[in-house]
Symmetry: C2
Subunit: 166 residues, 2 copies
């Protein structure tokens, strides 16, 4: 079971967008540069985030991405869904209906104990990620940064962010 690296990149990208001043954006190339990842893949994930309504983009020379909602209202689960979709990790193939003692379809309206247990575990996973917002990511990153790093980020943003249309 593996979560694609797009989730990692996207959470970091949204964390960076969380500290942009109101009315400013970051070009996709700059977001990729900041994280040292291939621009084409980063752009693809930013488009997924846009389609999911988590970020908005402005076009043109001064175009870029910004969050569409306050960081406190975007959870890590929202980002997982934007990048990986909502399909459960456990895909029940109803093998209880197979074989010489298979259950009749009309006896299988409720999930079996196996599927129900995996769905419950995935609910616990989702609930955990839903309880964490981008504000928590910004706070954690700030706690792990020294003054030098915070100043480097501020300078980079000043140089790189673009003024968006309203």
């Amino acid at each position: 079971m593996k979560l694609g690296s797009g989730v990692e990149w996207s959470v970091h990208a949204c964390t960076l967008l969380s500290v942009l001043p109101e009315g400013w954006s970051l070009p996709a190339e700059a977001i990729a540069e900041y994280h040292g990842v291939p621009p084409a893949y980063m752009a693809k994930h930013l488009q997924s985030l846009r389609r999911a309504g988590l970020v908005s983009s402005t076009r043109g020379a001064a175009g870029g991405y910004r969050l569409r909602h306050p960081p406190a209202s975007i959870s890590l689960w929202d980002i997982v869904v934007a990048i990986e979709g909502r399909a459960p990790a456990f895909r029940c193939t109803e093998i209880r209906q197979n074989g010489p003692c298979g259950a009749r379809p009309d006896a299988c309206r409720a999930p079996c104990g196996v599927a129900a247990s995996f769905y419950r575990a995935e609910q616990a996973y989702r609930d955990s990620l839903r309880s964490v917002s981008l504000v928590d990511m910004v706070t954690a990153a700030a706690e792990q940064s020294d003054a030098e790093k915070r100043s480097a980020i501020a300078q980079w943003l000043q140089k790189t962010a673009v003024r968006s249309e309203a």
Copy 2:
């Protein structure tokens, strides 16, 4: 994110082995037949379960698989680990160290907020699966079976199970 179907098959297979009388085994082919799944894949998963110490096998004409521990002491998480391994679904690539504002390696001894949040969610997932044993699976299956199905299973086992060496 997707859990391979081997986990589904293996939990069902171990649930079936849970109701075998002491001293009896089921051949791999019979386990595959019961679940209506390809024998070669089922055999591969049974070997993984054996390597993980969850089942044992006896060779020869009367050879087969049985649980190595009481069903109450085997959790769904044990079976996931046997089939999929212990690698976390979230694979941190330390992108916080990349780019123009990258953190120094010595400032990255603790996981970042992003990785820590995903590890916490996976812990919640694990804890949930650890709390469910094969006894719960047998109970759930019995609750969803009518007398006809229970009798069909008993007859099939009587015909198919083999007496194992001690």
